[in-house]
Amino acid sequence: MGIGYYLQFPFAQHALEAAFIVAISCGLIGPFVITRTMSFAVHGTSELAFTGAVAGLLVADNPLGGALVGALVVAALIGILGQRASERDSSIGVILAAGLGLGVFLLGYYHGYASEALNILFGNIFGISSSQILLLGLIAIAVALVLTAIWRPLLFASVDPDVAQARGVHTGLLGIVFLFVLAVTVTEAAQIVGTLLVLSLAITPAAAAQRLSANPFVVTLLSIAMAVAAADGGLLLSFQFATVKPSVLIVALSFAFYVVARLVGPAVTSRRRHRSVAPDLAELSRG
């Protein structure tokens, strides 16, 4: 019973589609997350998808809807409490702790199978319906559209906030918009790999890509490619090795990409550096 056997079932096809959709969104936001040093925000919003999902289960028997609404609330809270970069990490920590406490409290009132709630923590990729695929796809399109629209000013504001502001870019507003995009993307991804492992799609591929190129556009493409390869590759591997959970294999693949990129990366960037610096130093000393 290998890959070919599983692929004839709708649950396996849905899983592959969902993983593909989610990996694209994650690969897309990853470079911005790293440039803006917001990895902890990813971690915070993803774990709080658990609280949102439990609330969604209780109120409307709809964990994904609850998680999405919860993500928007969390993004707004981080935006309000963590306006200064220096206090952002601590406020995320505060919100994360309070939110998880609330999640555990709410879980006490839930009388369904506890596994339904635990799926949120570790991902439930084989339980995805075609209507959920549609929802995930629409979210991914929205995320891609918003990011495309704000791409240049967001990159400018992320890399070079002072000059961006001097050029009239509304850096604060862009930061809030990105926070919402991030929260929605992360919640979406939590359905696949689980809230605990979201970083493996939203951070690891982008971190690997940064080791391989300094061109922001190439980095984004590499980040998406590695996220997709890890997500769908991990799934296919799990069909072959049915005893291992797919999220474990997804994490393992993306980590492997990162290790390879770190090993290969220095050679790539330092060669470029080498070629470039010598003539300029000569010029400086002449001047």
Binding site: A166, R167, G168, V169, R211, V219, R273, V277
Partner: protein, 275 residues
């Protein structure tokens, strides 16, 4: 644009942040081709003056005009050059990407791969001698290299006024000289006035036409030889200050050791490097 309204004009201008008055009653006119150095201790509102011109901070009193029009956010007539930054080594931004922000970084949407844009960026890189490291990640560049890119970035918009906020900070002497010369070149060839905020007047002294010296709400404007005297600075600081001129360099020394970070402090710093 010459002849009509001056590039920068402030009349009776004041900025208050909360209870605190940074400066008030400021009258200042910067002419075409003029190099104005803005000096003063930390926290006296030097950077705030630039922010007023950039339309990021409103005046509490008085008026400000740039070529006759009030400041506004995102004014393309202004070039802005910040101090050197510590970019992360793995930041996925090359020298040319940083420069390109000067063309279209503030516009919506994805960057478009236009040949014309690329040529403009290439020309700007060549003008500051940065072609050789244009494709290197900015996190691997030296302060001097980075600041050359900043000049290219600021000049790409073909600014009518150049605003510089401590662009020489933490640069070695050779880079300070190279960067200042590039800024001055723009001023000479295009007549672009320069408002140059700095801690240290000596590296820019050969180019400076006038100095605006801000100290705790008080200010003085004039040619370097008028302002950098023991009498004027003692009056501004309200304490005894000695200005000593040594080999075309001004050293500002206070008996009371009370000039926070001000020229006295880098007189020290300068000595370490000057040989």
């Amino acid at each position: 644009m010459t002849g009509a309204a001056p590039p920068v004009e402030l009349r009776g201008a004041a900025v208050r942040l909360g209870q605190r008055t940074l400066w008030s009653g400021l009258d200042l006119t910067v002419s075409e081709g003029e190099f104005l150095a803005v000096l003063g201790p930390n926290g006296t509102g030097k950077t705030t003056l630039l922010k007023v011109l950039l339309g990021l901070v409103p005046l509490s009193e008085g008026t400000v005009r740039l070529h006759g029009t009030p400041p506004r956010r995102g004014n393309p007539a202004l070039g802005y050059m910040p101090q050197q930054q510590a970019f992360d080594r793995t930041l996925p931004i090359r020298g040319r990407d940083l420069v390109r922000f000067g063309v279209d970084g503030h516009r919506w949407g994805l960057p478009r791969h236009l040949r014309a844009t690329r040529r403009r960026v290439d020309n700007a890189l060549a003008a500051v001698g940065a072609v050789s490291y244009a494709d290197a990640p900015v996190g691997l560049l030296s302060g001097g290299e980075q600041q050359r890119l900043r000049i290219a970035q600021a000049l790409l918009g073909d600014p009518a006024v150049l605003l510089c906020d401590e662009p020489l900070l933490a640069l070695d002497l050779a880079s300070q000289r190279a960067v200042t010369r590039l800024i001055d070149e723009r001023r000479r060839t295009a007549g672009t006035p320069v408002v140059f905020v700095t801690h240290e007047v000596n590296p820019v002294l050969p180019y400076v036409d006038r100095i605006l010296y801000l100290v705790r709400g008080r200010w003085a404007i004039g040619a370097p030889a008028e302002i950098l005297t023991s009498e004027r600075l003692s009056a501004l600081y309200g304490i005894g200050v000695d200005v000593v001129k040594v080999r075309d360099r001004y050293l500002v020394v206070s008996a009371e050791d009370e000039l926070p970070t001000e020229p006295g402090a880098h007189a020290h710093h300068e000595r370490g490097h000057a040989h």
